[in-house]
């Protein structure tokens, strides 16, 4: 399955005089000449902008040189919020205006009213008149990555402890998957039995992952398809709660999405959050609290929670609503709630939502969008719905993986690596802090996803994860532009990890305005935020 990248990025043996790379948008227009050499180093820089960027660098150096001793550069730099360092031009703009001593209203060590004599040398430092106002950050998704990277997704692999013993196991799993792809079920059957033997000799995460994948393969071979996860929502919610307790992924998702929503709600007095996957509503108490504590007081808060129908007789969505109402009341936030039952987000129409004048809307979707890819037209319908609801912000968290390729073997391989890394992270986390029960339930939660990716197809296969790069294109085409998450969110997310991660190895990474949480070097989930163009 080796895939050669035919689009030469940077060849090491020849020096190219012209290092431009033209990226084209899906409708064939050529969009800007991103410098290829910079692109592989992680920066979006147009060749045509280089002279301009060079000038900004010089300006920034001047500004940094002029900063007063007691307001040292590092202090100012950490007070300024940084966004999307890949967009060099905008980052420089932000720094130039952020570090200019005349332009730090937030942390003002120098009282505004006094006249300060910086000395005759410093009168030469240009002020606002000469530095142009900060340009709007570039938000075109097409500029954010070279096109060939989308065509050929990366396969990040993290092996733990060399895993030399595990290699045979992995190879057998892969051989089995290949046999399934080729519909050689006799061979596949023999191999899947072999996996069972090999798995037993493994320890820890490898054994568990192999067992889940083997089971999923067996189901596919014997056509014993698993029943839909959607049927037992109470059990699913329970599993998710345990997953929430065991590892930081969901906490990170909630935290970063809330941060973006909080910022979007700044200065707004009436807000409406629409949660596309209400589950147990554990994301919302923290947001309510943050809104209660914000300067100027909380807004009037309305929450619409969407969830699948429950199969017992409880009105699960309403119960959650009541609990949140109690919390809101205890912190003096005016709160209103409505629960919507829907089998699929694609069944919703904007007319169902009570949109009110003067209300700022935020739409939140955590691990929901990928499910829509199982049905033709569903994602487009829902994005259309989102646009009709005119949100100030759309927050999206998705698994950072490509589990929706057309080739079964590809999906199998990708998911094997992804879930291996996830299981490894669970294994390392929280000795003594996390209960064994929580861990086991988390594994079952992930095991259900594995089963769905490997054993199911068609509309039943709902775990159709796609990487952020693909989502960026989708959202861009649908008429959304990114809202960048900044260094403040990053820093707080890192602190959150230090406090709650219960294990070494979790890392937050900034990626073109989005934040990703991963284990060591492998990003596993990504939070992005969007608004209408």
């Amino acid at each position: 399955m080796k895939r050669e990248n035919n689009f030469s990025s940077c060849s090491s043996s020849s020096s190219k005089p012209n290092n431009k790379m033209w990226t084209s948008s899906p409708d064939g227009e050529v969009v800007d000449d991103v410098d290829e050499l910079f692109a592989v180093l992680g920066y979006n820089l147009k060749s045509s902008d280089m002279a301009d960027v060079a000038q900004k660098i010089q300006q920034l150096e001047q500004v940094m040189g002029s900063v007063q001793q007691n307001a040292d550069v590092s202090h100012l730099a950490s007070e300024t919020v940084h966004y999307n360092p890949s967009d060099l031009s905008s980052w420089l703009d932000t720094m130039i205006s952020g570090l200019n001593p005349d332009f730090t209203p937030a942390l003002d060590p120098i009282p505004k009213t006094s006249v300060i004599d910086f000395g005759s040398d410093l009168t030469a430092i240009p002020g606002e008149a000469i530095y142009p106002p900060t340009k709007k950050p570039r938000t075109s998704p097409y500029l954010s990555l070279p096109s060939e990277q989308v065509g050929n997704p990366t396969r990040p692999v993290v092996l733990v402890d060399s895993q030399e013993n595990g290699i045979r196991l992995v190879h057998t799993l892969m051989a089995c998957a290949e046999a399934v792809q080729q519909e050689n079920f006799t061979l596949a059957e023999a191999l899947v039995k072999n996996v069972g033997f090999l798995a037993v000799s493994q320890a820890g995460a490898m054994r568990k992952v192999a067992t889940y994948f083997a089971e999923a393969l067996a189901r596919r071979i014997y056509r014993l398809y698993p029943t839909s996860n959607k049927q037992d929502t109470a059990f699913s919610d329970l599993l998710q709660m345990h997953f929430y307790e065991t590892c930081p992924y969901l906490k990170f998702a909630h935290f970063t999405a809330n941060q973006a929503i909080l910022e979007a709600f700044e200065g707004k007095s009436k807000v409406h959050v629409i949660d596309f996957g209400m589950n147990q509503g554990i994301q919302w108490p923290a947001l309510l609290q943050a809104l209660a504590l914000r300067p100027g007081g909380p807004p009037v808060f309305r929450l619409t929670g969407i969830g699948p129908p429950s199969h017992d007789n409880t009105d699960h969505l309403q119960e959650i609503g009541w609990k949140l109402a109690q919390i809101a009341e205890s912190i003096n936030v005016e709160f209103e709630y409505k629960g919507f039952v829907a089998n699929s987000l694609a069944d919703l129409e904007s007319s169902m939502f009570d949109l009110r004048e003067g209300e700022t809307v935020a739409i939140n979707s955590i691990f929901e969008f990928h499910q829509l890819l199982a049905r033709v037209g569903a994602i487009e319908k829902v994005l259309g719905l989102v646009k009709d609801l005119k949100p100030e912000i759309l927050t999206v968290v998705e698994q950072e993986a490509n589990h929706n390729g057309s080739s079964f073997l590809d999906r199998f391989t990708e998911s094997l690596h992804y879930y291996s890394t996830l299981f490894d992270s669970l294994e390392s986390g929280g000795e003594g802090v996390v209960s064994d029960e929580d861990k086991v339930m988390s594994e079952v939660y992930l095991g259900q996803q594995i089963c769905n990716v490997v054993a199911c197809d068609g509309v039943d296969r709902i775990e159709r994860h796609e990487s952020l790069d693909k989502w960026r294109i989708r959202f861009g085409e649908a008429g959304f532009e990114p809202v960048h998450l900044g260094s403040n969110a990053y820093k707080q997310a890192s602190m959150l990890l230090a406090l709650f991660a219960g294990g070494d190895g979790y890392r937050v990474e900034e990626n073109n305005g989005c934040l990703m949480l991963g284990w060591h070097t492998r990003p596993l989930i990504a939070t992005s935020a969007w608004k209408l163009s």
């Binding site: 090491s12 990366t154 990040p156 733990v160 402890d161 290699i167 990053y490 070097t521 492998r522």
Partner: protein, 352 residues
């Protein structure tokens, strides 16, 4: 500081291509914002700004990579292999076979730069560089994600480097040659990575672990004395002495000065390496516009005086970081030299 800011900007712009100037100046300014005068460091902002890339088991330009984590130490090594030489199946490497049973495939253990503080093995600049090394040097590369200061001071980086070397030596799928008897290791590093390579090589020689060669790319050495080059070039080509001092203060044990043996390797406080028979041959690359060149040239002299083989590649018009972009002659010159240095010894060993 020699010259005003503007003079230095124009000066450095004359000697490097514009995109290199932008890249290095950008790092310079960002790093200025991260170092605090009290010696502490804004680690979060550093990681936020650093452009990172995941490993990629799908070959790109004939190179694929994967990360190996040692759970006991939480250290990651990123392994880069040639996909033309080593067929990958299903996007994961064939880790049950050696690199080659017909010829020697050198393994370069690479220590990234960043003055002991910045960058990681998965930083885009170093990931890109290591990929280029695989193709030009026809080698496997293992990039070590050593612990950094100020959180982890001396000797952490050296300990991690040593652990990585031992790990590499123990790996069956990194072996090569007609008798597949061993892993053919070279140590390499730029800036602080060069410094680490030296110290790991010393330890390897002391403990009888074979290293075939050291490649030091404008390595970080220094001392209390202010050399001529430091005075003359202070601030002229992206680097100020003041920054260098900060990084040493962040790396060396508290209270130590720059004559500490980690920094001033041929100074009076350092143990002689004259008796170390198994210390490898070295290729030392010095950039003519690097203010540390006097220390680096002194290092070359020191090696010679200690009876060790060393080749100096002096690139008169090069600044630090010239190898990040393949858009200049120095880059190609470096690649050619490295290739020659690595493969010349293979000819010798292949006959035994």
């Amino acid at each position: 500081m020699a010259g005003g800011n503007e003079v230095n900007a124009n000066e450095s712009k004359r000697v490097v291509p514009l995109n290199t100037w932008i890249l290095i100046s950008n790092f310079k300014l960002a790093y200025n914002m991260l170092r605090r005068p009290d010696g502490t460091f804004n680690r979060d902002l550093n990681e936020f700004l650093d452009r990172k890339v995941p490993a990629n088991a799908n070959p790109v330009d004939g190179v694929y990579s994967f990360d190996v984590l040692d759970r006991a130490t939480s250290l990651i090594n990123r392994v880069y292999l040639s996909s033309t030489e080593n067929e990958t199946q299903w996007g994961i490497s064939e880790l049950e076979k050696p690199l080659s049973t017909t010829e020697i495939v050198p393994v370069i253990v690479f220590f990234h730069g960043g003055s002991f503080v910045h960058s990681s093995a998965n930083s885009a600049i170093y990931d890109t560089f290591c990929r280029r090394l695989v193709n030009t040097c026809k080698a496997a590369v293992v990039s070590v994600n050593y612990r950094r200061s100020p959180e982890h001071r001396y000797p952490c980086a050296y300990d991690d480097g040593w652990a990585a070397l031992k790990w590499v030596k123990s790996i069956s799928w990194l072996k090569s040659g007609k008798d597949v008897s061993k892993v053919h290791v070279y140590l390499a590093g730029d800036s602080s990575g060069g410094n680490i390579a030296h110290h790991v090589a010393v330890r390897a020689a002391e403990e009888g672990v074979e290293v075939l060669g050291n490649i030091l790319l404008h390595p970080l050495f220094g001392g209390e004395e202010r050399t001529e080059s430091e005075k003359k070039l202070d601030g002229k080509y992206f680097v100020k002495i003041q920054d260098r001092d900060w990084y040493w203060r962040a790396y060396l044990p508290e209270g130590e000065d720059r004559d500490h043996p980690a920094c001033n390797v041929f100074g009076s406080r350092s143990k002689s390496i004259e008796g170390l028979v198994y210390f490898p041959k070295s290729l030392v690359v010095v950039a003519g516009l690097d203010l540390l060149q006097d220390w680096q040239l002194g290092y070359v002299e020191g090696l010679k005086k200690s009876g060790h083989e060393v080749k100096l590649l002096y690139l008169e018009k090069a600044t630090i970081g010239f190898y990040f972009l393949p858009n200049n002659d120095h880059f190609h010159c470096l690649m050619d030299e490295m290739k020659r240095f690595i493969h010349s010894s293979n000819c010798e060993y292949a006959t035994t």
